[in-house]
């Protein structure tokens, strides 16, 4: 019996190929947009997550400053850290792999006629550990260089590209913010950071060199702490906060005047935001799927009216009313499932093409594909039932007389 119904339904769909195609279109577009939006959205989330993870997910960055917000920020500029703070964290907090202070300034790097404005960071070898940033050439600072604050540097790929085109920079000298500096190493290229900044546009020198010869003070603008992944990041964070509050003399009534930034936390926040946007856009696309379903109902209703006489004939030659109902229902379900499959295939094709163009990874999401397909089948049942019932309830005598 069910087989008969399928035979009839397929014959009917084939017989009205244009009408079937138009009915399908709504569902195709609906399923297509839901899957495309969600798949690309997932790709975007993943892209953000990996690029933030590349920052080093086991790194805490501590900077002076208050959390902006209602009641926060009284206009005072909080004091920077000093080298003793860095020492204190290194000695008193367990679970840290590297602690390094960072003194930063802007300056021009000049070699021959080339002039390039960049960021100069004064730090220690701990920076490379905390950032998990390897060198592509040369070496890190020697203990002697760090101790004495020698004028040596490790440079990013952007500096190499702008000042040392075509030559090996290691061992070369150039002028940076007015002093002569020799290159000992080159950092691996990292490309764009999460906020569009060029991570490779950097010159790294021993902190003492920067403090003594450029900033002229002992200020530390940031402390980077590498975490041992076996320890709980939140606990380490809490003890660092406690330690720094004590060292900075903050009473229990005062808010923190520094921020501990956790790359993982940033990653979670940003990808959470993108997820919400994905769901939002997916939801809008879902509405178009619903509209597609209403389109199916519309066409099925028209088709019931148009085929009144046919239904009369079927009933007269012995079709039971539930067989007519089933036939129309199966037609609607077959149409919406075909639409669902077509939409899925088109969406996957579109994603495979669009994802690389948008610089996103292509992630096949089984869940959203299954969900969209089931939803489109469901649409066939829900929106097909009403017209089908109407067909089944026709009086054969009147249906036969219908023109």
């Amino acid at each position: 019996m069910l087989q008969t119904t399928f035979v009839l339904a397929f014959r009917e769909i084939r017989r009205h190929i244009l009408r079937s195609f138009l009915t399908l279109l709504g569902i195709v577009i609906g399923v297509f947009s839901v899957i495309t939006m969600v798949t690309l959205g997932n790709g975007a989330t993943e892209a953000i997550r990996t690029s933030i993870a590349s920052l080093g997910s086991d790194v805490l960055q501590i900077r002076p400053g208050q959390n902006a917000g209602p009641g926060g920020g009284n206009g005072e500029v909080p004091p920077p850290f000093d080298p003793a703070d860095v020492e204190a964290i290194r000695e008193q907090i367990s679970g840290v792999t590297a602690v390094t202070g960072l003194a930063q300034t802007q300056g021009s790097a000049i070699r021959n006629a080339q002039n390039w404005s960049t960021t100069i960071s004064g730090t220690t070898n701990g920076y490379f550990i905390a950032q998990k940033w390897a060198l592509s050439k040369g070496r890190q600072f020697s203990p002697g260089e760090e101790q004495a604050g020698k004028s040596v540097c490790v440079i990013g790929q952007t500096i190499v590209d702008n000042l040392f085109k075509g030559i090996d920079p290691v061992g070369q000298n150039f002028r940076i913010k007015g002093i002569s500096c020799s290159v000992v190493g080159v950092l691996e290229a990292r490309g764009q950071g999460n906020f569009g900044n060029d991570q490779d546009d950097t010159v790294i020198m021993p902190i003492k060199a920067v403090q003594r010869q450029m900033t002229g003070n002992q200020d530390i603008r940031a402390i980077m702490v590498g975490l041992n992944p076996e320890y709980d990041a939140a606990t380490i964070r809490k003890s660092i906060t406690g330690l720094l509050r004590e060292r900075r003399g903050l009473g229990s009534d005062k808010a923190d005047d520094f921020n501990v930034l956790d790359a993982k936390q940033i990653s979670d926040t940003v990808s959470g935001t993108v997820n919400i946007l994905t769901m939002l856009v997916g939801g809008v696309a879902g509405v178009s799927l619903l509209v597609g379903g209403i389109g199916i109902m519309n066409i099925m209703l028209v088709s019931v009216t148009e085929r009144t006489r046919e239904i009369g004939i079927r009933l007269a030659i012995g079709a039971l009313s539930h067989e007519v109902l089933l036939q129309f229902l199966v037609e609607a379900i077959v149409l919406s499932c075909l639409g669902g499959i077509t939409g899925m295939v088109l969406a996957l094709m579109a994603c495979v093409i669009a994802a690389p163009l948008m610089g996103l990874p292509f992630l096949f999401d089984v869940q959203i594909n299954a969900l969209s397909f089931l939803f489109s089948a469901q649409i066939g049942v829900v929106f097909g039932y009403f017209p089908a019932r109407r067909a089944a309830r026709l009086n054969p005598i009147e249906a036969l007389r219908y023109d």
Binding site: T4, A316, I317, G318, S321, P396, I397
Partner: protein
């Protein structure tokens, strides 16, 4: 006389309610014996179509009884009546009523499909029926590609493909010229004599009624006369 195949006893049919009520049948009594060829005649509104709908198990009487093969049809529900149509009845209409954009073969197969016949049997039986009406070469043609006479022959093939006990024909020649009409009548006569199918045919034309052995005349919702020849 043998037990009648069909018997109507005191059948009335009222359409509408209250003041708008219209009594189409006012107590119809009639009997049809197995193998008869009956022509039903009468003016429009005389109740012949209503009677045919009841006999075709498409409609139910308001009162009275309809006995078919010894069973009371008026006591059956919609699906049970549909099963009667499926097993014992074949219909031929004035307007042919074939499924559009559907080949002659598929049209003839349709009743077999509802009977749950297996595909290979379906094809064989339908081709036999088409052969009986002489349309095998046209099996793949859709109604739009066939003449009126051919369409009606497809419809007859569809009606007899299940070898029904009764063939109900509602003005089967109403849309055809006289030459085609004669062809159709000869086909019906042939199925009546060769296959023993009881034929009930509504007609306005005396020439067509002349093929029948029994003529039942309706007037104002009752059987006016029964002529046997």
């Amino acid at each position: 006389m043998a037990e009648p195949l069909i018997a109507l006893r005191g059948v009335t049919k009222t359409f509408g309610e209250g003041d708008a009520a219209f009594q189409a049948l006012r107590g119809v009594d009639l009997e049809v014996t197995q193998g008869d060829f009956v022509a039903v005649m009468g003016a429009s509104g005389s109740g012949k179509s209503t009677t045919m709908n009841i006999l075709g198990c498409l409609d139910t009487p308001s009162s009275g009884s309809f006995i078919f093969k010894g069973g009371h049809v008026e006591q059956l529900d919609v699906d049970q009546r549909a099963m009667l149509r499926r097993r014992y009845l074949g219909f031929v209409f004035q307007g042919f009523n074939l499924l559009a954009r559907t080949s002659a073969l598929e049209n003839v197969e349709l009743p077999l499909l509802y009977r749950g016949e297996a595909p290979q049997n379906r094809h064989k039986i339908a081709m036999t029926a088409l052969d009986r009406v002489g349309l095998v070469p046209w099996a793949d043609h859709t109604p739009a590609q066939l003449s009126g006479g051919q369409q009606q022959r497809v419809a007859i093939a569809r009606a007899i493909v299940t070898e029904p006990d009764i063939l109900l024909a509602d003005e089967p020649t109403g849309n055809l010229d006289s030459e085609r009409s004669v062809e159709i009548m000869e086909l019906l006569t042939q199925f009546n004599t060769d296959l023993g199918i009881t034929i009930l045919m509504v007609t306005h034309e005396a020439e067509m009624a002349a093929y029948a052995r029994t003529i039942i005349r309706f007037k104002d919702g009752v059987v006016e006369a029964v002529e046997r020849r």
